[in-house]
């Protein structure tokens, strides 16, 4: 059917032909819980918008796709001066904007506490945990790869990788795969 004159409708882009599709490539180099989510969330959003998504996991980012580690990624307060606790507003209004003293981050148990807190906040927002998020990305058609050099360096096994990971590839392979993509390094 012809689109009537003056008809206002969303821009769905052109037909999703393979040619001319937008492409994004993420490089995940960090293995902290809070550094795992950005690529997963943006990759998910991009896939929902019909964008091709490629994710390359390297260095500590390999922990995100290693099934022996990815369900227990951690968030630490140490070194994070932007760590606030919204709950402190109940103690005294304004405290929620005050950074937690750095020394507290090194107190035993603080990392577990901060991790549990972040996981709870994510759950409240309906965000899946990392392993389930990888399942989701796999179902949406994301292309995921492990970095050959760091995979060998850390003596990982292929059977420990999430099934959505297509392979262990080297840097040159990734440069080829990401041709024409917008690259996000995390």
């Amino acid at each position: 059917m012809e689109i009537p004159a003056g008809f206002v409708m969303p821009d769905f882009g052109n037909t999703p032909a393979a040619t001319g599709r937008r492409k994004m490539a993420f490089i995940c180099s960090k293995g902290n819980l809070d550094m795992a989510y950005p690529a997963l969330i943006m990759g998910n959003a991009a896939l929902g918008e019909g964008v091709d998504v490629h994710i390359f996991f390297t260095f500590w980012g390999l922990d995100i796709i290693n099934i022996k580690t990815n369900y227990r990624l951690k968030f630490t307060m140490a070194g994070n001066t932007a760590m606030h606790m919204p709950e402190l507003a109940r103690v005294r209004p304004g405290l929620e904007h005050v950074g937690i003293p750095q020394a507290l981050g090194n107190v035993p148990g603080m990392t577990s506490m901060a991790t549990a807190m972040m996981k709870r906040q994510m759950k409240d927002l309906g965000i899946p945990e990392v392993p389930q998020f990888l399942d989701l990305l796999q179902d949406l058609g994301a292309h995921m790869y492990a970095c050959r050099l760091t995979f060998d360096m850390m003596k990982l096994n292929e059977y420990d990788l999430h099934p959505g990971v297509e392979g262990v590839i080297n840097a040159a392979d990734f440069i080829g795969i990401s041709e024409g993509a917008q690259i996000v390094f995390i």
């Binding site: 059917m1 689109i3 009537p4 003056g6 008809f7 206002v8 409708m9 969303p10 821009d11 769905f12 882009g13 037909t15 999703p16 969330i41 998910n44 959003a45 896939l47 929902g48 918008e49 019909g50 927002l125 309906g126 965000i127 899946p128 989701l136 179902d139 949406l140 058609g141």
Partner: protein
């Protein structure tokens, strides 16, 4: 705010073209909208659309693809095949709902 007319049916939309009044939607209108983007709505398309409308009636928000899978039981891979390209937006538009706000 713009008003669209398609085959004698009138409905209000926002600047981007998404519905602003969900009650102005009907299944017949959805079929006509789908033909504008070269989609032929099957029972599976309509099942997903009905889920989004029912869910929106309860939550007041347009479901994301993740929610359609978790709560509605529609595999995201299937949704991407049914509504190729900008899946979440097409689904929301054909359901007569606003563009989804949530990130995941």
């Amino acid at each position: 705010m713009p008003t669209n007319t398609l085959n004698g049916r009138t409905f209000d939309v926002d600047d981007q073209g998404f519905f602003t009044h969900r009650e102005q939607w009907s299944e017949e209108l959805a079929h006509d909208l789908a033909s504008l983007i070269d989609l032929d709505l099957t029972d599976r398309h309509l099942a997903a659309i009905r889920f989004l409308r029912d869910d929106h009636a309860v939550t007041g928000a347009t479901a994301t693809l993740h929610r359609a899978q978790e709560v509605g039981g529609f595999p995201v891979g299937e949704l991407c095949t049914l509504f190729p390209g900008k899946t979440a937006q097409k689904l929301a538009w054909l359901s007569g709902l606003p563009k989804p706000i949530a990130c995941v």
